[in-house]
């Protein structure tokens, strides 16, 4: 749906230059000296400026788009966008041919320039990425889109720059679905909400009349599966974001919960609780066939497929306490993989397939961590009073999760917020939301 409005029309120039000669940002470790980058305002002719202003009611769309890029690059922790006040060369001239000495003087190592105008009622944007020290163009792209998509233009430019400089796909042209929360801790009102990855364009998908929990995207980001207490019957639902149509998943005589899509989007995997026992089931969305995957008197929940769909990581207390297990997608070969001290929950398979993110409770503290899929190489990324439910960025480099505060002696001061942290354990950041927020789930890239 979204991609229809956005067509990448033209790959202008893409010099295959020697990697050694050009800047490269290492994203495999915590970056203590982020790359200084100058993001020039995208320029428009005076005439275009007037037309754009009339269309979008924004004074300087080129400046706004460059600010989105700056913000994204800064949030990644890998880049240090320089103050525009210090720029010596005008953006329009720099876009044609930068005077690299001027940019080197202000210590920029990379430079982004661009141009924006209206063409047949479409927003047309072009941008270039320059290596200042080598004095070379690294990337040049142009694309058109419907004007109201202008924020996404900033995200797509950010993704292309990130990809060119780090060698890995970006994660900026993405959305987060989450649960918006309000009201006292004992009577929280919860709604499904969706927003751009940078916190803009928030939309509420439910009204708050019933409790909703744990929304998750399908691979094409058009459907969401979640738990709703509609009519006080906690069941897994499926929601089409475009049409707003909701339906119950399957016909279970009891609570279904902890839903996720299979990697091909054709099945929903979830827990079904009956007579005090929770097991894992799948339902095929095409033929509605329900399959039981686990059959054990313990609690089996929080299932998550490997990206190839061949394995399932899940949470079970069959050893006596919550631990993480992996099995084949048919339920065979169940193996416990978490053996560290404490309790382990919410396993989520990385989109790269090599790691499983989890929540750990040990000695009264909650941790977000990662381990390899055989349970080895456990690394704890962050410790707090309460936090859980990590969700991976589509490139597998960042985790988003939620954190709740400890209340004071009067039971006041409760809040729930979204946070993100790099796989390196660095760059922990609060994600601003209009209301309190929990249960975040990261979409895949909207445009590829």
């Amino acid at each position: 749906m979204i991609n229809r409005n956005l067509i990448l029309i033209l790959l202008l120039i893409f010099f295959p230059l020697k990697a050694t000669a050009l800047i490269k940002v290492d994203i495999t470790r915590g970056n203590l000296s982020p790359l200084p980058v100058a993001v020039a305002s995208l320029f428009s002719s005076e005439e275009d400026k007037k037309k754009l202003n009339k269309e979008l009611k924004i004074d300087d769309i080129g400046l706004e788009i460059s600010n989105i890029v700056e913000n994204n690059l800064q949030q990644s922790g890998l880049f240090n966008p320089l103050d525009k006040e210090a720029f010596l060369q005008k953006p329009d001239i720099a876009h044609l041919k930068p005077r690299f000495e001027d940019w080197a003087l202000i210590k920029a190592q990379a430079l982004i320039t661009g141009k924006v105008n209206l063409q047949d009622n479409k927003l047309r944007v072009e941008f270039r990425l320059w290596d200042v020290l080598a004095g070379k163009e690294m990337l040049a792209l142009a694309f058109t889109t419907v004007p109201k998509n202008w924020r996404r233009v900033g995200h797509i430019i950010s993704d292309k720059v990130y990809e060119r400089l780090t060698g890995e796909k970006g994660y900026f042209d993405t959305r987060i679905i989450y649960v918006a929360e309000e009201g006292p801790k004992t009577q929280r009102v919860k709604k499904l909400a969706i927003m751009d990855q940078d916190g803009f364009n928030t939309k509420y998908l439910t009204l708050g009349n019933e409790l909703v929990l744990t929304p998750r995207f399908n691979p094409t980001n058009q459907m969401v599966t979640y738990l709703s207490y509609f009519k006080n019957l906690p069941r897994v639902y499926l929601l089409d974001i475009e049409t707003g149509i909701q339906e119950v998943v399957g016909d279970f005589a009891g609570m279904t919960f902890a839903p996720r899509f299979s990697p091909n989007g054709k099945k929903i995997i979830m827990s079904f609780a009956k007579d005090g026992n929770s097991d894992i089931y799948t339902m095929d969305l095409e033929n509605r066939i329900v399959e039981r995957i686990t059959n054990h008197p313990s609690i089996d929940t929080s299932p998550s497929y490997s990206p190839d769909g061949n394995y399932i990581a899940f949470n079970s207390d069959r050893s006596g306490y919550q631990q993480i297990y992996v099995m084949k997608s048919n339920g065979k070969n169940v193996k416990r993989i978490s053996f560290g001290k404490g309790l382990y929950g919410t396993p989520v398979w990385s989109p790269r397939g090599d790691l499983i993110a989890f929540t750990k409770l040990h000695k009264g503290k909650f941790y977000i961590g990662v381990m390899r899929t055989d349970g080895k190489g456990e690394r704890l990324l962050t410790e707090n009073f309460y936090q859980e439910a990590p969700s991976w960025s589509p490139n597998g480099r960042v985790l988003i999760f939620y954190r709740e505060t400890k209340t004071d002696s009067k039971g006041e001061g409760f809040s729930a917020k979204l946070w993100s942290i790099d796989l390196t354990g660095y760059n922990e950041r609060l994600i601003e939301t209009e209301t309190d927020a929990s249960d975040p789930s990261w979409s895949s890239l909207l445009s590829n």
Binding site: N277, S278, I299, N315, T346, T407, E412
Partner: protein
């Protein structure tokens, strides 16, 4: 070698001081509240009554769904009341405290409510009169972030449905 020994000793000392301080805090908490046995709530602050002398809820230890002696007594009274009032149907609402992951707590709440349901059934209440719902950690009665508040929130509440 020597250095290793020193480190080892420091570690042992630290370890013991930690154990000692842990014990110290635990005993003081017990003294202050006096409303918990182990970590099961034994007070009556949040309890409501289905009828005279028939408490509406039972409490659980952390991560547990086993009924305590006190819980079984409460449920026997509920069963007697339900036998006397045979037109009444109930919903058992299972809850967990905030110190667990959301999805696991949903399952745990369901397990707790069912352990209360099973007990009512052994005392002659038909399963057709009892439905079960889990709220996990979504509906605490006490918004505190301390062991006493958590103990009040680990509960199964019997609610009249008609």
């Amino acid at each position: 070698m020597d250095l290793g020994k020193i480190y080892k000793n420091i570690f042992v000392v630290l370890f013991f001081s930690f154990v000692l301080s842990a014990c110290a805090t635990q005993t003081t908490t017990k003294k202050i509240d006096g409303q918990m046995q182990g970590d099961v709530y034994t007070g009556t602050d949040t309890v409501e009554y289905l009828a005279d002398g028939v408490a509406d809820r039972v409490f659980f230890a952390t991560n547990e769904s086993v009924l305590t002696t006190a819980s079984r007594e409460t449920l026997r009274k509920q069963a007697a009341w339900l036998r006397k009032n045979s037109e009444i149907t109930v919903v058992l609402e299972g809850h967990a405290d905030e110190r667990g992951t959301r999805e696991y707590n949903l399952a745990l709440g369901e397990r707790r409510a069912n352990s209360a349901k099973d007990y009512l059934m052994t005392y002659g209440i038909s399963s057709s009169r009892i439905s079960v719902i889990s709220y996990g950690k979504e509906r605490p009665v006490d918004s505190g972030s301390n062991p006493l508040a958590w103990s009040k929130n680990r509960r199964s509440v019997t609610v009249k449905a008609n």
